[in-house]
Symmetry: C2
């Protein structure tokens, strides 16, 4: 498999930049004081569809040939990728077929429909999702865009770190959460090209620690029955991303849900921004391993802001 | 009473600007679509101490003479002004005496103490607060800085609109919430000088509608037993501010708590930022009176972001 070059990532950014937000980088004096280090948060919670997923989906659609464009795109997802792909397809004027489990939250379905995506419901099992997707693809000729194990998606997510490096901050470390690994892989790749001395540290919930275990064992170990408040990180690591991670990620740290909630609260209280629990995982890992990060310049990607406001975990 | 001139407000801004944040102005395509108009939110929820109150307190401290500086400042408040004054005093290197009711939330006391303010507790009645404050002032010689009925405080709050006008947006209307009237008064004054054709519309909760009733009656009618989720707007209108409001405010609209919560949710969901309920009052009033604001350029001040995360009103 040939990985995108820096030139490829820059071209991807040029292709998608009019369809996404150039999100701000924010800091908090109060959090820096608590952490004993200098943190720059890249706010993908302000991204279109409320998550970095808008980048990968937009890039994947932009890479389709003329014939493929006509037949549209398809995926199975009940999360941010579903809305992101539906939106990217709408912008491109092509159909999007989204396979969703019948028990997906109404609000997620609404988001997909809002972007004109066609929802195909299935039983809430991975097997049913994959089978239904195969049927949809066979019937429509649509191109399957995997949420993270797709090189064009990874190339799109890599544009997030590209924007971070445009800020002219000399990051010692960049941290990202890891679920399927699309964001982490893209971030590691861009940073490897631009600043190979910069450490890439991933953060993962203990209850969905397949990336941690795979990284230690140097072989892909899928997650069984993941359980964590960080609902964006329940997925198992993708194959493409695991290759990139083995080459370009320096370490993977894990945290438990209480640590995630504490870091999440800190961001709400001190930065006054809305994030989903997955975003708080890197800050939680930093605070748990403070001594390791003292007096550095640290970039942290806040991956998204789509959270059920009625179920915030604050007591 | 002589009101601050535009020159005075500009000088105030020059004095305080290194002690406050120049807060951003944000927009949301989604909210604009719902409202049928173009809204620019001035984000004082990102201000120091989490509210516009940092401006007025900083300005009041900057106006003290040398003698007064030595004796420090005092106030009674259980809200954002308490923390704002403690912080302004700390920056100025002078003492701050904050009279707080014994039942004030621990988190509010902690904020004041965090800025080195000295808390003097009293019974939770207005009478006890005023008496205790008188005693503190008599004993220490500190200067009493009223939370809103103080011309230097109003001059400080007026710098918020000054920054809005620096954005070079030709606002048809500027909206602000009204409690004691410091923010509204300052906003109306600045806007009167810079763009007299721009309408100033205040928004107030129905359960604390003394400004609305006073504005209609053209005489100050204090609020008895206010009750609203917008806890920053429970106070009655100040005398100084009422004078400014009668001259320079075009209208006052009221909304109920359900309307406030709906607007608040819209801001959390679509803008991914944390605001306190008081901030949502102007957007609620706009949505309730949509036809009146169609296709305008509207500035809305989001006054603060200090909210109890465990008690958010979302279901």
């Amino acid at each position: 498999m040939s990985l995108p070059s820096l030139e490829d990532i820059k071209e991807a950014h040029d292709r998608i930049k009019s369809f996404i937000h150039h999100t701000p980088v924010l800091s908090s004096e109060a959090i820096n004081k608590i952490a004993g280090t200098e943190i720059y948060f890249k706010c993908e919670n302000f991204q279109k569809v409320g998550a970095f997923k808008a980048r990968g989906a937009a890039n994947a659609v932009s890479k389709l040939g003329q014939e493929a464009m006509r037949n549209g795109v398809a995926t199975h997802s009940s999360g941010n990728h579903a809305a992101a792909l539906a939106r990217a397809a709408k912008v491109g004027g092509i159909p999007a077929y989204i396979v969703m489990p019948s028990n997906a939250p109404e609000i997620k379905k609404k988001a997909v429909k809002g972007y004109g995506g066609e929802i195909i419901e299935c039983e809430p099992t991975l097997e049913a999702r994959e089978r239904t997707l195969d049927e949809v693809v066979a019937k429509t000729g649509a191109t399957f865009i995997h949420p993270y194990d797709n090189i064009h998606v990874v190339e799109g997510q890599a544009t997030c770190a590209l924007e971070m490096w445009q800020e002219k901050i000399d990051f010692d470390t960049i941290m990202a959460p890891v679920g399927g690994g699309g964001l982490l892989g893209g971030t590691a790749l861009t940073t490897h090209y631009i600043s190979p001395k910069t450490k890439i540290i991933a953060a993962e919930p203990e209850g969905a620690n397949d990336a941690y275990r795979s990284f230690q064992a140097k072989e892909l170990i899928p997650m069984k029955n993941p359980k964590t408040i960080a609902d964006g990180l329940l997925t198992s690591l993708g194959k493409i991303n695991f290759e990139i991670i083995l080459q370009h990620v320096d370490d993977i740290l894990t945290v438990n849900d209480d640590e995630i909630i504490l870091a999440m609260r800190l961001i709400y209280e001190r930065m006054k921004i809305v994030i989903e629990p997955s975003c708080a995982v890197p800050l939680a890992a930093l605070l748990k391993n403070k001594e390791r990060f003292q007096n550095q310049k640290i970039g942290i990607i806040l991956s998204g802001g789509n959270v059920d406001l009625a179920k915030l975990p604050f007591k």
